[in-house]
C-alpha cells in the first residue's frame, strides 16, 4: 500500500468523522439546549411543549453520537481507546446525562408526577452538555493537567452549554408560538451573548495554551482560512441577533447552525493533522488501508441516505406545533 493513499484515506475519514460530529452537535445540540432552557422555564405547560417539540427527533439526533463513536472506533481505534479511557469520568457523566434526558422525554408523558421528570430532563441535558464541553476542552488541551488547562476546560464546558442553549432557543422560535416563542427569542439573545463571550475567550485561550494550534495558526494559508471562518462566524452570530429581533421564524436557527459549522471547521483546521494535539496524530491512530477502504464504502454510501431519511423526518413534522385543548 502506498503511504500517500493511506494519508488521503485518513484525511477523508477525519473529514467524515468531522461531518458526523457537526451533525451530532447541531441536532442533539438543540435537543440538549431545549433541556437546559427548560430548567429556567416556570410553567409546566411550557416545559411540556418544549419537550414535545423534540419528541419525534431526539432519538435519531442522539444516534449521530453512536454513529460517530462506531466510526471513530473503527477508523481510529487508538484514538478511541486513548480518549475514552483517559476521559472516563466526563464520558460516564455524559452517559448519565443522556440516560436521564432520554428516559425523561419518553416517561414524562404517561407520568402523574411530571415535576421529577422535568428535573431529570433539564438536569440530564445540562450534565450531558457540560460533559461534552469538558471532553472537547480536554481534547484541545491535549489531555494535559494543570491550572491553565483546567480553566480552559471549564470555559469550553460553559461555551458548549451556551452554544447548545442558543441552538435550542432558535429551534423553539421555529417550532412554537405565543409565550414560549417569545421567551425563546429572549433566551436566544442571552445565549448569543454568552456564546460570543465564550468563543472569544476560547480562541484567545487556544492561542495561549496550545503550541500545536500556535504553529498551525502561523501557517499563512491556515491563518487566512481561519480569518474567513472567523468572519463567517461573526456574521452568523450577528444574523442570529438580527433575525431574532426582526421576528423571523426560521432564520435564527439557520444562522445558529451556520455559526456552529464555521466554528467546528475552524477547530478541525487548527487540530489537523493531529487528533489529540501533541498526543496522537491521525496517522498514528488510523486503521490499516483495507479497513479504511471497507468502512468508507459501507459508511460513505450510507451517509447521504441517513441524512436523507433524517431530513424526511423533519419534513413530516415541519411547521409550528399546534395545540389542542384537552
Amino acid at each position: 500500500m502506498s503511504a500517500s493513499s493511506h494519508a488521503t484515506l485518513t484525511s477523508a475519514w477525519f473529514g467524515l468523522i468531522g461531518l458526523m460530529l457537526v451533525l451530532y452537535v447541531v441536532t442533539d445540540g438543540f435537543d440538549l439546549g431545549i433541556g437546559i432552557l427548560s430548567l429556567v422555564t416556570r410553567e409546566e405547560h411550557d416545559r411540556s411543549l418544549m419537550m414535545h417539540s423534540i419528541g419525534h427527533v431526539w432519538d435519531a439526533n442522539e444516534t449521530w453520537l453512536v454513529v460517530l463513536g462506531g466510526a471513530l472506533f473503527g477508523a481510529f481505534p487508538a484514538a478511541y481507546a486513548l480518549l475514552l479511557s483517559t476521559l472516563y469520568i466526563p464520558v460516564m457523566a455524559m452517559i448519565a446525562g443522556l440516560i436521564l434526558r432520554g428516559a425523561a422525554i419518553e416517561f414524562r408523558h404517561p407520568a402523574q408526577f411530571k415535576r421529577a421528570w422535568d428535573i431529570a430532563f433539564g438536569a440530564g441535558s445540562l450534565i450531558a452538555a457540560l460533559a461534552q464541553g469538558v471532553i472537547l476542552g480536554r481534547v484541545i488541551t491535549g489531555l494535559l493537567p494543570g491550572l491553565a488547562s483546567g480553566i480552559f476546560v471549564a470555559l469550553t464546558a460553559l461555551g458548549v452549554a451556551s452554544g447548545y442553549a442558543l441552538l435550542g432557543a432558535t429551534y423553539l422560535v421555529k417550532k412554537t408560538t405565543g409565550r414560549v416563542e417569545q421567551a425563546a427569542r429572549n433566551y436566544a439573545l442571552g445565549a448569543a451573548a454568552t456564546t460570543i463571550a465564550a468563543a472569544i475567550l476560547l480562541t484567545a485561550g487556544t492561542r495561549v495554551i496550545s503550541p500545536i494550534a500556535q504553529s498551525r495558526w502561523n501557517d499563512p494559508a491556515v491563518f487566512q482560512l481561519l480569518l474567513v471562518l472567523g468572519a463567517i462566524s461573526a456574521s452568523a452570530l450577528a444574523a442570529v441577533v438580527w433575525a431574532v429581533l426582526a421576528h423571523h421564524s426560521h432564520a435564527p436557527f439557520r444562522a445558529a447552525v451556520l455559526l456552529f459549522i464555521s466554528s467546528f471547521a475552524g477547530l478541525a483546521l487548527s487540530l489537523f493533522p493531529d487528533l489529540v494535539p501533541g498526543r496522537l496524530s491521525l496517522a498514528e491512530a488510523a486503521s490499516s488501508q483495507s479497513t479504511l477502504v471497507f468502512m468508507m464504502v459501507g459508511i460513505g454510501i450510507l451517509m447521504p441516505i441517513m441524512m436523507g431519511y433524517n431530513f424526511y423526518q423533519y419534513f413530516v413534522f415541519r411547521g409550528k406545533m399546534q395545540l389542542q385543548a384537552h
Partner: protein, 462 residues
C-alpha cells in the same frame, strides 16, 4: 489493588450493563416485526381489529424501546473506557462492525421511529407501514451486526497480528466466521421467541380475565402459530451451535457439560444430565450420567472423541464451571418447555376448533402462558452467560486474554460508575413496570379509528 481485581470490576460492570441492556432489544426486535404484520394485515384487509392491535402493542413498544436506547449508550462507549486494550487491539474489525451497526441499523430504527409513533395521519398509510417496516428491519439488522462482532470474538478469522494489533486480511472470512451464522440465527430466533411469548402471554392474561376476549384471541392465535415454527427451530439451532462449540471452543464445550477426561478411542463420552462440577479438584463431586450421550451431542457419533476440561491447561479453562453447567441446562430446559407448551396448546386448539368459549375454559393452559412470560428472558440471559463466561479467559478467543484487554482504571472510579448504572437501572425497570402495568390495566381502545391523512399535528399536553 491487584490488576485482577480491577479487571474483575470492569468485567462486572460490563456484565451488569449487558445483562440489563439485552432485556429490551429482544422485545423491540420481535414486537416491531409483529407490528409490521398487523399493520400490513390492516392495510390489506381494512379490518380495524388489526389497526387497533397495531396501536395497542405500539404503546408497549415505546416503553420498551426507550429503556433499550438509553441502556444501549453505555454499551458502545465501554469498549473504549474500560477495555482500551481490546479497542486498540481489535478496533480495526470490531470498531468497523460497530460503525456499520450504527449507520446501517441503529440510525434506520431511530430515523423512522418518530414517523411510526407520531406520524399517524401525517403520512399516507403506505408510508406509515414503510416506516414501521424500517424500524423492524433496523432493529433486526442491529442484532445481525452485533452478533457478527460477538461471533468473531468467539471464533476470530480473517485477521493477522501486526505490531501487536489486528489487521483484517479477509473481510469475508472475518464476517462469515465459523460461529456467525449460528450465532446470528440463534439470537435472532431467540428474540422472536421472546416477543411471541410476551404477546401470547399478555393475550392469555386478558383471556384469563375474560377482558376483550375476542380481540386477544386473535393476537394469541398469531403468536401461537409463529411459535409452532419458532420453538422447534430454536431447539435445532441451539443443538447445532452446541455441536459447533465442541469443535471451535472445546474448553467451553467441556465446561458447559462438566466433562473432565477425554474419552479413549473406541469408547463413548458420557453426558452428565445433572452434576456438581468441582474445578479445584478437576472432577464432578457427583453426576447423573448417560453413557455415550455426549459423543452423540458433540460429534454426532456414538464414540466420537470429546476433549475433557482436565486435559486443557488450567490457565485456558473458563471459570465458574457450575454456573456454565446450570445456565446451559436452564436455557435448554426452557426451550423444551416452550415447544411442549406450543404443541399442547395447538392440540387443544385443534380439538376445540379454536372456539372462543372453549379456549376460555382452558384456565390452566392460559395461566401457563401468563406464567411463561419471564421465561424467554431467563433463557436468553442464561444463553449469554454460557456464551460469554464460557469464552473466558479470552476476550478474543485464543488471541487476546481478558486481563490484557482491560484499562487499568482506579478501582473507585469503576465502582462509582457501576453504582450509578445500578441505581439508574433500578429506576428504569421500576418506571417501566409501573407504566406497563397501567398499559395492561387500561387495555386496548376498541373504538379507535385511523386518523385521516394530512391532519395537522395536534398535541395533547399533560
Amino acid at each position: 489493588m491487584a490488576v485482577n481485581d480491577i479487571v474483575n470490576l470492569s468485567r462486572s460492570q460490563f456484565a451488569m450493563t449487558a445483562i440489563f441492556h439485552i432485556l429490551w432489544p429482544i422485545l423491540t426486535i420481535s414486537l416491531s416485526a409483529f407490528l409490521v404484520l398487523v399493520e400490513a394485515l390492516w392495510v390489506r384487509t381494512r379490518n380495524l381489529l388489526y389497526y387497533r392491535h397495531a396501536r395497542f402493542w405500539a404503546k408497549l413498544l415505546v416503553l420498551n424501546f426507550v429503556v433499550g436506547v438509553v441502556s444501549g449508550i453505555p454499551m458502545e462507549f465501554q469498549f473504549g473506557t474500560n477495555w482500551a486494550g481490546f479497542s486498540r487491539y481489535a478496533g480495526e474489525f470490531v470498531g468497523n462492525i460497530l460503525g456499520f451497526e450504527g449507520t446501517m441499523a441503529f440510525m434506520l430504527e431511530a430515523g423512522f421511529i418518530g414517523v411510526m409513533l407520531y406520524g399517524w395521519g401525517r403520512v399516507p398509510r403506505g408510508v406509515h407501514l414503510f416506516a414501521t417496516s424500517m424500524v423492524a428491519f433496523g432493529s433486526s439488522l442491529s442484532a445481525f451486526w452485533i452478533m457478527v462482532a460477538n461471533s468473531w470474538m468467539q471464533t476470530p478469522a480473517g485477521v493477522t497480528v501486526v505490531n501487536g494489533r489486528l489487521v483484517v486480511t479477509d473481510y469475508m472470512a472475518a464476517i462469515f466466521n465459523p460461529d456467525m451464522v449460528w450465532g446470528v440465527a440463534h439470537m435472532w430466533v431467540g428474540a422472536m421467541e421472546t416477543g411471541a411469548f410476551v404477546i401470547a402471554g399478555i393475550s392469555a392474561f386478558y383471556l384469563y380475565r375474560r377482558r376483550h376476549a375476542e380481540f386477544f384471541l386473535r393476537s394469541f392465535k398469531l403468536a401461537l402459530m409463529a411459535l409452532l415454527v419458532i420453538a422447534p427451530l430454536q431447539i435445532w439451532l441451539g443443538d447445532s451451535s452446541g455441536f459447533d462449540v465442541f469443535h471451535n471452543q472445546p474448553a467451553k464445550g467441556a465446561a458447559i457439560e462438566g466433562y473432565w477426561h477425554t474419552n479413549p478411542p473406541g469408547t463413548g463420552a458420557a453426558w452428565a444430565l445433572l452434576a456438581w462440577p468441582d474445578q479445584t479438584q478437576q472432577k464432578n463431586d457427583w453426576a447423573l450420567e448417560l453413557p455415550n450421550m455426549l459423543s452423540v451431542l458433540g460429534t454426532h457419533s456414538l464414540t466420537g472423541q470429546v476433549t475433557g476440561l482436565a486435559d486443557i491447561p488450567r490457565a485456558d479453562q473458563p471459570p465458574m464451571v457450575p454456573l456454565l453447567f446450570y445456565a446451559f441446562r436452564l436455557m435448554a430446559g426452557i426451550g423444551v418447555w416452550f415447544m411442549a407448551l406450543a404443541f399442547w396448546s395447538a392440540w387443544i386448539w385443534r380439538k376445540t376448533r379454536g372456539s372462543l368459549n372453549s379456549m376460555l375454559q382452558q384456565r390452566k393452559l392460559l395461566l401457563a402462558w401468563v406464567l411463561s412470560i419471564p421465561l424467554p428472558y431467563i433463557a436468553i440471559e442464561s444463553g449469554w452467560v454460557v456464551r460469554e463466561v464460557g469464552r473466558q479467559p479470552w476476550v478474543v478467543y485464543g488471541m487476546l486474554r481478558t486481563r490484557d484487554a482491560a484499562t487499568l482504571l482506579p478501582a473507585g472510579t469503576v465502582a462509582a460508575s457501576m453504582t450509578m448504572f445500578a441505581v439508574f437501572y433500578a429506576v428504569l425497570v421500576t418506571t417501566f413496570a409501573v407504566f406497563a402495568y397501567k398499559w395492561l390495566k387500561q387495555g386496548p381502545d376498541l373504538t379507535a379509528l385511523p386518523p385521516e391523512f394530512s391532519a395537522p399535528l395536534k398535541l395533547k399536553l399533560g
